[in-house]
């Protein structure tokens, strides 16, 4: 079985419209009309958003959580926004009808297995967003999908209700034990791997979580695909400002651009110890 790298799709820069915004737990779910973006989307892609106050020059990256047709608008993209920080708070405060500058879909998406193998999907906080469309795609290919959804508490957990339709089993973990098992991903990954017999593990979350998943996958002889989040000032591959230390196919240490060589990278290729 082979899992290599996901192919990048062509991106567009669109003046989008915020169609709908609603609070779910600690996050805001935004539905955005951005012509050209949903059509090209693959799970693991993200979009870059410009902060409305143009004195903030860096772009803000958001995973595409869902692509959904909305009557009269064609396809839309849905984003999950953590309202911390300048850009997040601004996006979360926007009323429906606002215009947003959106570029996407960007980045290398998750690579899919060629055979219908067992897959484990591990997501923490808002970062679990891209795993939901991935689960659907994998199920369409006949893969058995198991999921671990983690968060600081119930409010920072993406709802697994919908996922239950496309996955075989969901393990919920919160740091404070407010729902599901109490603990962190690193504490449950071994068991999840052993139980699912997964041949491919997909992970999205903070670096320490990704590192733990990549290490566990390697120990089990599974492939891992990790969605790495580092600040991406331009998000389009222009500035070289998003370095991720990796090991190339030739075994040589290199520095990749997270936004364009990633953000999804093979877990065994990232030099986690050198990633800040």
């Amino acid at each position: 079985m082979t899992v290599t790298t996901g192919e990048r799709a062509g991106a567009v820069h669109a003046s989008g419209e915020l169609l709908d915004t609603k609070r779910i737990g600690a996050f805001r779910h935004l539905t955005v009309v951005a012509p050209g973006v949903p059509e090209r989307f693959r799970p693991g892609n993200f979009v870059a958003v410009s902060v409305g106050d143009s004195s903030f020059l860096a772009r803000r990256s958001y995973w595409v959580h869902r692509v959904r047709p909305v009557g009269g608008y064609g396809a839309t993209v849905q984003l999950v926004v953590d309202p911390n920080g300048v850009g997040g708070a601004w996006l979360a405060s926007l009323p429906a009808g606002s215009r947003i500058e959106v570029t996407g879909p960007l980045g290398r998406p998750f690579a899919l297995p060629k055979e219908p193998v067992s897959c484990l999907l591990v997501g923490e906080g808002y970062s679990a967003a891209p795993l939901f469309p991935l689960a659907e795609r994998l199920r369409e290919r006949g893969c058995a999908v198991t999921m671990v959804v983690a968060g600081a508490d119930e409010a920072h957990l993406l709802s697994s209700l919908e996922a239950r339709r496309s996955v075989r089993a969901v393990t919920v973990v919160t740091a404070d034990g407010s729902v599901g098992q109490k603990g962190r991903v690193a504490g449950v990954i071994e068991e999840a791997l052993a139980r699912s017999q997964a041949e491919v593990v997909y992970a999205a979350g903070p670096h320490d979580t990704l590192h733990a998943v990549a290490a566990a996958a390697e120990a089990h002889g599974a492939w891992s695909q990790t969605a790495v989040e580092v600040p991406q000032p331009c998000a389009t591959g222009l500035c070289h400002g998003c370095p991720v230390p990796v090991v190339g196919e030739d075994g040589v240490a290199r520095v990749a651009r997270a936004c364009s060589d990633g953000p999804v990278l093979r877990g065994d290729r990232v030099r986690w110890g050198d990633l800040g």
Binding site: G10, A11, V12, H13, S50, S54, S55, F56, L57, A58, R59, E101, T103, V230, P231, P233, C234, T236, G237, L238, C239, H240, G241, C242, P243, R254, V255, S260, G276
Partner: protein, 276 residues
Amino acid sequence: MTVELAGLTLASPLLVASGCGGTGRELVPYLGEQGLAALGGFVTRSITLDARAGGPAPRLVETPSGLLHATGLPNPGIDLFLATELPWLARQDTRVVVSVAGRTIGEYAELARRLGRSPGLAAIEVNVDALETGSGEPFQAGSVVAAVKRDLPRGLPVLVKIRPDLVRVVETVRVVLEAGADAVVVGTAQPAALPDGRPAGLSGPAVRPLALRCVTEVCAAFPDAQVVGGGGIATAADARSFLAAGAVAVQVGAALLHDPTTAARLAADLTQETVR
């Protein structure tokens, strides 16, 4: 609107500034049907003799209306650049300007020798700021230019990129013109520091008035010189104020990181202006 710069005919007065257009390929989705041919030229990120991995994260930090950058000039080194990047750029029907940076005068000379033998480039842009000793000194800049000119075949123009430092800009331009520069680019980033104290460049709209003042002074002091202006240009009106000050062409950098369609929009707008 075509302009003449250092003996070259450019399709537009708008060039992509060094280090802000990736390898060129990343910009293509945002340029429309014409691709890079819509622009007056593409300046590569600064290329060094040996490969450079680039500096540690964070490499870019937001500051009001500006971006601080300390990228460490990540690039594959001249040999790999000539083998893997220049051939593609040369096929894009645009003016390819290769920016070079060295630690010593000898390195600049060696870069010039290698580039002088390579087909596909229209000009060299000398980034004198990278010199390890005395990079701010006019006489050092003059020595670099003289060394580069000595080792280049005749007919390959040399653009020299100068820091828009009002105290010495006129003196530096005088020295590099005497040393044989075919044109000067007034519009490097302003010397600044990251919050952690590391030396960095400051770019973006925050530096525009400083750069415009320097361009104005240089054009007044050397009415016959070919001057390319840059620094914080984000709109066609910004570009026009540099052209009105006497610049033959302009470079746009940080604005592309905020909105990758900026180059195409500005090029189209500036073309319309002269048709009218």
